[in-house]
């Protein structure tokens, strides 16, 4: 069996950033396993701009961002094996993988970084009723067909959900001479970035209906129309508000789910809220030596954050390889309070870097609010925020010395 210090699963921006940082920290023996023939992950199909503003201080396309990260990894001579599918991770950190050249093989790793990314919520998971015809497609799949294969999956489109990929695709469909009839969002606010609402919908006169959803799909063969209705406060369709929109495609952009099948198989504890691994502030999962970062940990809004999280995971994996942390060291649990959906990390170690960063998605849209950090139920630190919206990740940084004054728990909450 091959033996390696660090196995990184996934050659997207999170995985590559982790590998780069680990190498910079002196870890020689690294291998990155990538299932596709290319490095860069989903960024390869993101031909739009808006990437790299934080990391590179430049406005890059996804493709350019991916190339920069991949080039850096290759310049550091980090072995990235493409076309390689990881089948299993054992609790002993044996990774089983395969590719056409090497066949099926096993690697005993000392540390592992999980960076498998996420998948899109499908029609089936959303349980959208109606005909089971062609023309119902997720936004990312449509993006792939258009940007990588050069084909349009539809010409008259209704978009369900206002996730970022759907908004980006709305603009691109218009550029490709397709007609985007409407974006339909079940919530009273967008789940995407504010800049995408303005640059992709408003600039192209594409209407968006909030508090609305698709209640039926009609068509034989291909989609012929969808029925849209308004919803009440419990998200149930309001009878009498329904109307049909003729179209040939229903594009779904209603959420992303971390792809944690490998983590699950390894017995790693997952969060019911983020659907990612439960981690401490070193991004280490419940299996010592296994770290998680990027969209497989929790779904991010910006690739810059994905990349930064990868860098952090790589640095922590390097530290672990140099001096494995004490197993069972005391950790303070982090809880979600009012308005907070899935704060990461879920545990804070008593020792480590001087500061700890927390990230979470707000449960709702809040204006002129405060993010409060309660230590053992007592509000200890407050951060004023002008706007919080579920489409954008909220981040707060606290000194570890302060957090360490908590005996039992840390609670993140929003005060309106």
């Amino acid at each position: 069996m091959m033996k390696t210090d660090l196995v990184v699963i996934g050659g997207g921006s999170a995985g590559l950033s982790a590998a780069i940082e680990a190498r910079k920290q002196g870890i020689e023996d690294i291998v990155v396993l990538e299932r596709s023939p290319y490095l860069g992950g989903i960024l390869r199909q993101c031909i739009h701009n808006g990437f790299g503003v934080h990391k590179y201080k430049e406005d890059l396309t996804g493709v350019e961002f991916a190339k920069r990260v991949a080039d850096e990894a290759l310049a550091l001579n980090i072995p990235c094996i493409q076309n390689t599918f990881a089948l299993d991770i054992s609790p002993e950190k044996v990774v089983t993988a395969m590719n056409p050249e090497q066949g099926l093989f096993e690697i005993q790793a000392k540390a592992i970084v999980l960076a498998m990314g996420c998948r899109e919520r499908s029609r089936g998971a959303l349980m959208i009723p109606g005909a089971r015809c062609a023309g119902v497609i997720t936004a990312g799949t449509a993006q792939r067909y258009l940007n990588l294969e050069g084909y349009l999956p539809g010409k008259r489109i209704v978009i369900l959900g206002s996730g970022d990929i759907g908004l980006i695709m709305a603009r691109q469909f218009v550029v490709e001479s397709a007609k985007v009839e409407r974006v339909v969002e079940i919530m009273p606010y967008s789940s995407g970035l504010a800049r995408n609402i303005s640059q992709c919908l408003e600039d192209f006169d594409i209407p968006i209906s909030y508090n609305s959803t698709v209640i039926n799909i009609k068509g034989r063969g291909r989609v012929e129309a969808v029925t849209v209705a308004q919803v009440d406060e419990s998200r149930r369709p309001i009878p009498g508000t329904e109307f049909d929109i003729p179209c040939d495609t229903l594009l779904i952009s209603a959420g992303l789910i971390p792809e944690n099948e490998l983590a699950k198989a390894a017995g790693i504890q997952l969060s019911d809220i983020t659907k990612g691994a439960v981690v401490d502030d070193n991004l280490m999962t419940t299996l010592p030596g296994v770290f998680s970062c990027g969209n497989v940990l929790h779904v991010h809004d910006l690739v810059d954050h994905v990349s930064a999280e990868g860098t952090k995971a790589g640095a922590n994996a390097a530290d672990y390889l140099k001096a494995p942390l004490e197993i069972g060291a005391a950790k303070i649990p982090v809880e979600d309070g009012f308005g907070v959906n899935g704060a990461v990390p879920q545990f804070v170690c008593r020792e480590g870097e001087p500061t700890v960063e927390f990230m979470f998605r707000p449960r709702n849209k809040f204006r002129n609010c405060t993010v409060c950090v309660d230590l053992d139920g007592v509000c200890t630190k407050r951060f004023k925020k002008l706007v919080l919206t579920p489409g954008e990740m909220c981040s707060v940084v606290l000194p570890r010395a302060l957090l360490n004054t908590a005996r039992d728990k840390i609670t993140m909450r929003v005060e309106v």
């Binding site: 499908s122 062609a134 084909y151």
Partner: protein, 496 residues
């Protein structure tokens, strides 16, 4: 002149085709859908019923019981996954226990083994049965099969033995003609000595064309939900409640939880009369009936011990299927008196999947007893099929990749389907010609992402294997194209 034409390639038509394929006969199967198993057989509860509950003496009872006994050998021969997982019909009060006793008595009359269990006896079979279950009926001979898997296997075997299949070929008319029947389709007319009417929800149409002994098929739709494969490890038996006061009314055996042979869980189903014989939509009402039922009854299910609340977010997809409910309330089998050599396999609703192999045997005998065709000397009873990569051991995987490196290329990550298997599904007899046909043969696209990642790769492989343009590839035949134009060609110009 064909010796026999079979109308319809569902479970009845393909069972029929395989029966006739054993003999020196020219047999043609005409199917309206783009693939075999495109109608009624595709969307049901996948249960191989034991046969304890049909009215004793009815065709349903006779063929259900006989069919059930044929399944283990049939599935073994055709390499189709089949599990005899048993069924528990549980009761939560004395009234329901009385119903359990009635079902037990019915089972006795049909010659089906059932056992009335108190809670303790039930826990020996399914240790995690929920609190509040006071007892129930144990039906050990109930099983699970994947119905489209079986139909595809039957069709492949029949084709391998010389039966011809024409899909996307709708029969418009059947009329009496010199020496037999004239079967008309939009492109061609066929003559046949025998016609087997296996047309599912359209079977009344063809019968009523040739016979004064008319009947009516009333399509009824059943809907199901599928749960992610993570949950299947917590339950083995199919779990149903006594069919009293259940949502869905008296048309089904009631709501049930069925662990599929593929490792997922099927929940369902409701049953509603519909107008359209092809109706297979999922409706809000239909899906809500199932969700609401399991919200309330989850606590009785064995899984609830591990996952206390019904996990709505574990639903990966839903499906619906129409059933061919006959106005005579029983399977309509054999020749109408005024239409010799026109043989009905009609009104094949539940337990049709179970009964089909037995029905086909008897319906074939009508022809065989008259015509005495010689058996084929080179008849091949099985089919050549490799184990799916998903269920191979590590060593088997290693060997498979060594023999064919395409086994190392995962196309569908959720269900771990390899490129080798997808190419094989297209190249096999009665091979896949659409994305959905690939899905039914390999499970590519059936997992939690529902084809989000793999559909473009499947489309590309279909193009390579069939020498087609991407714009020509359909989801399921007809006008169900996946892609509509080349990019940057605003007029939707065709790919050059």
């Amino acid at each position: 002149m064909w010796d026999a034409i079979i109308i319809g390639a569902g479970i009845s038509g393909c069972s029929m085709a395989r029966e006739l394929a054993r003999y020196q006969l020219n047999v043609l199967v005409l199917e309206k859908g783009h693939d075999v198993c495109a109608g009624t057989t595709k969307g049901n509860s996948a249960t191989v019923h034991a046969g304890y509950d049909p009215e004793p003496g009815s065709n349903k009872a006779i063929y259900n019981v006989r069919g059930n006994r044929m399944y283990p050998a049939l599935c073994e021969e055709l390499k189709v996954p089949f599990t005899k997982n048993g069924m528990i019909i549980f009761a939560i009060n004395d009234e329901q226990m009385e119903e359990v006793h009635k079902l037990h008595a019915m089972g006795n009359r049909n010659g089906v083994t059932t056992k009335v269990c108190d809670r303790a006896a039930l826990l020996e079979i399914e240790p995690d049965m929920g609190e509040g279950v006071i007892g129930g009926l144990w039906v050990p001979d109930s099983g699970m099969v994947c119905p489209y898997n079986l139909v595809i296997a039957l069709a492949e075997n029949a084709a391998r033995n010389g039966v011809e299949f024409r899909t996307s070929t709708e029969v418009l008319n059947v009329e009496k003609a010199e020496g037999g029947w004239l079967v008309k389709t939009p492109t061609e007319d066929f003559r046949a000595k025998y016609v087997f009417n296996c047309a599912g929800t359209y079977a009344d149409k063809f019968n009523n064309m040739v016979s004064k002994d008319t009947f009516r098929i009333i399509p009824r739709e059943g809907q199901h939900l599928i749960l992610d494969r993570d949950l299947a490890k917590y339950t083995k038996a199919t779990i149903c409640q006594t069919p009293e006061n259940l949502p869905g009314g008296g048309h089904t055996k009631g709501m049930g939880l069925m662990p599929s042979v593929d490792g997922t869980i099927i929940l369902g189903c409701n049953a509603d009369q519909v107008e359209d014989p092809d109706f297979s939509d999922n409706t809000r009402e239909g899906m809500d009936k199932i969700l609401d039922y399991f919200d309330v009854k989850w606590k009785y299910m064995p899984i609830s011990k591990h996952i206390p609340k019904f996990p709505r977010d574990a639903v990966i997809t839903a499906y619906g299927g129409s059933r061919a409910h006959p106005d005579r309330d029983d399977f309509i089998l054999g020749e109408p008196e005024d239409a010799p050599c026109f043989i009905n396999l009609a009104g094949i609703e539940s337990p049709g999947v179970t009964a089909a192999p037995a029905i086909a045997e008897d319906m074939a005998n009508i022809l065989l007893d008259r015509e005495h065709p010689a058996p084929k000397a080179d008849y091949k009873p099985g089919r050549e099929l490799k184990e799916p990569f998903r269920t191979m051991t590590t060593e088997e995987r290693r060997a498979a990749i060594q023999a064919d490196p395409d086994y190392a290329k995962i196309v569908c990550r959720c269900e771990q389907v390899t490129e080798a298997e997808i190419r094989d599904a297209i190249r096999r007899p009665v091979g896949a010609r659409s994305v959905s046909a690939v899905k039914m043969r390999t499970r590519a696209g059936m997992g939690r992402c529902q084809g989000g990642f793999c559909s473009s790769k499947v489309l590309q492989i279909l193009c390579e294997e069939l020498h087609l343009d991407p714009l020509e590839i359909t989801q399921s035949g007809g006008h169900s194209n996946i892609l509509v134009a080349k990019a940057c060609e605003p007029d939707g110009g065709k790919h050059s």
